[in-house]
Symmetry: C2
Subunit: 152 residues, 2 copies
């Protein structure tokens, strides 16, 4: 798990950037919550518990940095906040993301992996002459628990 941290430090050095306490804490915070999808404000709240003096601007700047380095992924649920999650391990070199199931009732976000999209991409590539390099899939609906709570 601290694999990401090593990678982060390496990438920072490579770019002539500095390894600061704040940057490490922010990455750790995200690593400790692998299945959550936190807003900048939520990350800020978590991080403040470790380092009360940190500024929200630093959170925003670090998030942006982590995102550029592909260590975290963005997720936009169209509710006015951009959310972030630690990048999921990839054993190949692709930048393909996993996908999201968003419950319209409780708002929970679940993730899934499916390689059917690869087939779709090939099809698009052939039929429309469009070279796909990345994709994003969001499925909206009702999760198991919410279906039970509100049957019908």
């Amino acid at each position: 798990m601290p694999e990401n941290q090593e990678r982060f430090k390496m990438l920072l050095k490579q770019k002539g950037l500095k390894v600061t306490t704040q940057r490490i804490i922010i990455l750790e915070t995200l690593e400790n919550r692998p299945d959550e999808h936190l807003t900048a404000e939520e990350i800020y709240e978590c991080v403040k518990q470790e380092n009360p003096d940190i500024g929200l601007a630093t959170v925003y700047r670090t998030i942006q940095l982590l995102s550029e380095l592909n260590l975290i992924d963005k997720l936009n649920l169209e509710d006015g906040y951009v959310r972030y999650e630690i990048g999921h391990q990839r054993n190949d070199a692709t930048t393909h993301h996993h996908h999201h199931l968003i419950c319209l009732d409780c708002g929970n976000v679940f993730t899934f992996q499916d390689d059917m999209l690869e087939t779709l991409e090939t099809r698009i590539q052939d039929s429309m002459n469009f070279k796909v390099v990345d994709h994003e899939v969001k499925l909206y609906g009702y999760c198991k628990d919410c279906q039970k709570k509100n049957p019908k």
Copy 2:
């Protein structure tokens, strides 16, 4: 094509809302650009040519109304603007959208329809107990023309 307009007028009356010049012009503007994905500001600029006195707030309010009535679709390209397009004709009762191909080079947005997603949805429904009611798919890559311009 003015089918949407009739539908709009009907829905407005049904809800006790009024058919105003502004509302009609805004819908017409979107109908006249079926393959574009306009921001509120862009819609405002177009609409001002028909009615220079219109206010940006009215555009925002009408867009929201049209969106709630499912006459237009939202599209978020994560560039800080929400975009809108006239709803594409559906001969069934589903709310499924078409999908988008977004060129990372020229920024153009292309649309495509593919029913493979239905299969994916069924699969998710079975394997994860998640009842899918809507979906959104975005494929990022390079369009035909940009591939020609920048071969590699």
